[in-house]
């Protein structure tokens, strides 16, 4: 038999519970990525070479090496310094760091697209750099890059199965355990695949929708706050 529906119904509850862990890891990881990304973007755009060059190096380093090794690194290395992290926390930190590096490039593109005149006008109004950044620059820089950030949310979501490597009980790990308990991998792994496919397609449709709405409101900035 290629496909056993009874088995599917039997394992469904465990998989659904595990999918909540996957979703939790996705959102926590992405939240961290959004924050770290902004910090890295700002540091990388710093006027001092002593700050910008090492940040750039770090960003490129994170982007050039496998996230799996980064997960291992954080999971195994921190305890050496006496900080024992639960697997879930280590995994979320690693994903957040990895995608933070990607997000920082997106932020940077957004920040660089704000015309210089905005800084000059703010200086002319005697606004402090912090206020300028918070009230003038960020509100203009972020909306155009929301779809690009959304794409990284989806990418991060698709990387969460890696957490199975450090035994986080997310969807993939649960499917593997179910598979080995019952000596049948077809259904659990296929279901995991279908889950990711459906979620990604839904997310892609949402991003397109956001993009369309943004394009409209950016083209006609008078139309509402």
């Amino acid at each position: 038999m290629f496909w056993d529906w009874n088995y599917v119904w039997e394992i469904m509850p465990s998989l659904l519970r595990a999918s909540l862990v996957t979703i939790e890891a996705t959102f926590l990881g992405f939240l961290l990525a959004l924050v770290l990304g902004l910090v890295m973007a700002i540091l990388r755009m710093s006027r001092s070479q002593w700050i910008s060059v090492p940040t750039a190096g770090l960003v490129e380093f994170i982007r050039s090496t496998p996230v799996l090794i980064q997960i291992f690194f954080i999971f195994f290395v921190f305890p050496e310094f006496g900080i024992v992290l639960p697997a879930m926390t280590a995994g979320v930190i690693a994903l957040g760091l990895h995608y933070g590096a990607y997000c920082s490039e997106v932020y940077r593109a957004g920040l660089e697209n704000v015309p210089r005149g905005q800084w000059e006008a703010s200086t002319a109004l005697n606004l402090s750099p912090y206020i300028t950044f918070r009230d003038i620059i960020i509100p203009q820089a972020i909306p155009p890059v929301v779809p690009a950030l959304g794409n990284y949310l989806v990418a991060l979501f698709k990387e969460t199965p890696l957490l199975s490597a450090i035994a986080v009980l997310e969807l993939m790990q649960t499917a593997k355990i179910l598979g080995s308990e019952n000596f049948r991998y077809v259904e659990p792994i296929t279901l995991v695949g279908v889950f990711f496919l459906v979620m990604s397609l839904v997310a892609a449709a949402l991003i397109r929708q956001v993009e369309r709405t943004l394009n409209q409101s950016l083209r006609n900035p008078g139309g509402g706050q």
Partner: protein, 240 residues
């Protein structure tokens, strides 16, 4: 990808890694890690070749194929982009034997990663082909070329230059994804790292060196693609 900070960083990390490693009697684990790195390189190269072939076929089928072929290409692209690489790897590894198809782990690794990156590559190829001016197709018709010939001799060579930088990024994504194959029993760099971590407990040293090794391979890819781009762009400044 910025080359200069990357290079600076590589040197810093490499020296740091070396310093740490020399403290740690790195002769113990360097040979094992190099063996793993060699497997990683083999999978990367195999996967990249498969990815390029799959991307070209899928993009051309999606753009110009007859309807059933077009659907097949769209299904391939959406499924492989919509699910994660690890799920695909496990599916090929655990589920295919159930249907009586037994592949070597190495073949599974190359197939899964190549097809995964190929699906992203298909969109790169499609974008580059659509960016070739329409007049090039029209001139090909006016010279009575069959569509396949026009695609092969006129359109693809022009699309090629525009494809190189995004392919460079995809190749690095593929390199990074090779770490996943350690989870299906292949003793690549990531696998060796874990194995040695368990036997020697030199956690910091091992993982630092492994990260630097991955960085080194990705710098080779970046430099290689830059060179290819310079060579390909020569004499191709579009004259239309």
């Amino acid at each position: 990808m910025q080359l200069r900070p990357l290079a600076i960083c590589a040197i810093v990390f490499f020296t740091a890694g070396l310093a740490v490693a020399s403290f740690a009697n790195f002769r113990e684990f360097i040979p094992g890690l190099l063996q793993g790195a060699w497997i990683t390189v083999q999978i990367t190269v195999g996967g990249c070749i498969l990815a390029v072939v799959a991307a070209l076929l899928a993009a051309v089928a999606k753009m110009y194929g007859p309807l059933p072929l077009r659907w097949l290409a769209v299904a391939y692209i959406e499924v492989f982009r919509g699910t994660s690489a690890l799920v695909q790897l496990f599916w090929l590894f655990f589920v295919l034997p159930h249907f009586g198809i037994n592949l070597e782990p190495m073949s599974v690794a190359i197939a899964a990663l190549g097809l995964n990156v190929g699906a992203y590559g298909a969109e790169v190829v499609r974008g580059a082909i659509s960016a070739v001016p329409r007049g090039q197709w029209e001139a090909s018709v006016a010279l009575n070329m069959p569509r396949i010939l026009a695609l092969r001799r006129i359109i693809l060579p022009q699309a090629f230059v525009a494809m190189i930088p995004p392919w460079g990024n995809l190749f690095i994504e593929l390199l990074k994804a090779t770490a996943l194959v350690s989870l299906i029993t292949i003793s690549d760099l990531a696998f060796k790292a874990q194995q040695m971590n368990q036997t020697t407990f030199r956690t910091v040293e091992i993982f630092s060196i492994v990260l630097v090794m991955y960085l080194a391979i990705s710098i080779v890819i970046t430099v290689g693609m830059r060179t290819l781009e310079t060579v390909a762009a020569r004499g191709m400044a579009r004259g239309r």
